[in-house]
Symmetry: C2
Subunit: 167 residues, 2 copies
DNA sequence: GGCCAAGTTGAAAATGACTTTCAAAATGCC
DNA sequence: GGCATTTTGAAAGTCATTTTCAACTTGGCC
């Protein structure tokens, strides 16, 4: 429990938060949009999270700070954050779009448990290399890729083997 | 034109088609379902395609052979084909599910052009190896993965550089 | 500090890709 | 052929997103 709590503390320092706000604000200025309290609240809430959130989950967190902020605004702000590189979409292939913040983070991928929905992050520079290599081979200029692994995590596997004997 | 035509001929021989029908029929029998003309028509149409089709695209092709077959039946049959391993889903991350037939085909991945939507297949045994390796490391029993690369194909890049000078 | 054009907000409606429902029709075991 | 069981397809339902629109803010300007 205590461990959990420590682990839940914000990932991001005050300076990083400020820097991210700067990035958003200059993006807004660049494209002629306005600076609003809602957008700041949403950015902060988003940066305080770890892992990946659906729009709905983020909206729920945002409402704790300001109950009057609507889903639509969270939706639009998340798109904005993605535009300026502060957020990026991860598709877990279950019909729900998830976002994670790209602030100060190494490129990584996810392995998802198809039973409990849990996931682990992993880092694999080989995947980046493959992207480049395959793009070159087929004359594509590559911009990004998706890579997810699906399977059963250890605890779901143990749960499952309770009902029938292990192979 | 002639080249195109030759390239458009069915991928699959009569024997392979028959074999696939056998697979479907025994699957139907196994799970207590019935053999219908619609299911056969849909399977055949599907096997005659290359690349990946959305449900809607397959439905359109199926209607050419029998205009009375509805979208719902195509939808349900595609699920059935996926169940018995004749079809598998590919997610291109644009909100549309696509399927390709797994008949007599090496495991492969796709690189998608974000401008024209075209795609190329590529083969990369390294990705399979990575799946195993990463699963083992985190105590997952992996079942599958997704890997797609996104970028600009050569011709879209040339099109784009027409309006502004190349870098 | 107040004005106002332009942008923002959020509730509600629309979209679109599936997914389910249901009554009529087809299948296949006897 | 008889009949329980499945299948079919049109239509309705879901559900995550996306758009609409009228009321509200923001920021540049005086």
């Amino acid at each position: 429990m205590l461990q959990k709590r420590i682990d839940d503390q914000p990932l991001i320092s005050r300076e990083m938060m400020r820097e991210a706000e700067q990035i958003l604000h200059s993006h807004l200025k660049r494209v002629g949009l306005k600076h609003t309290a809602q957008r700041d609240t949403i950015l902060r809430t988003f940066l305080e999270t770890r892992e990946h959130l659906s729009m709905d989950e983020l909206h729920r967190l945002v409402k704790r700070k300001d109950p009057r902020i609507g889903f639509t605004t969270v939706y639009r702000t998340l798109k904005l954050l993605a535009e300026c590189g502060l957020a990026s979409e991860v598709a877990f292939h279950d019909g729900i779009a998830r976002f994670e913040h790209q602030y100060n983070r190494r490129s990584h991928h996810h392995m998802v448990c198809t039973d409990c929905g849990g996931s682990v992050e992993f880092f694999s520079p080989e995947v980046e290399r493959l992207e480049q290599e395959i793009g070159r081979k087929h004359h594509y200029v590559t911009t990004r890729h998706t890579f997810q692994i699906y399977g059963l995590c250890e605890s779901c596997r143990k749960k499952a083997s309770g009902s029938r004997p292990p192979v």
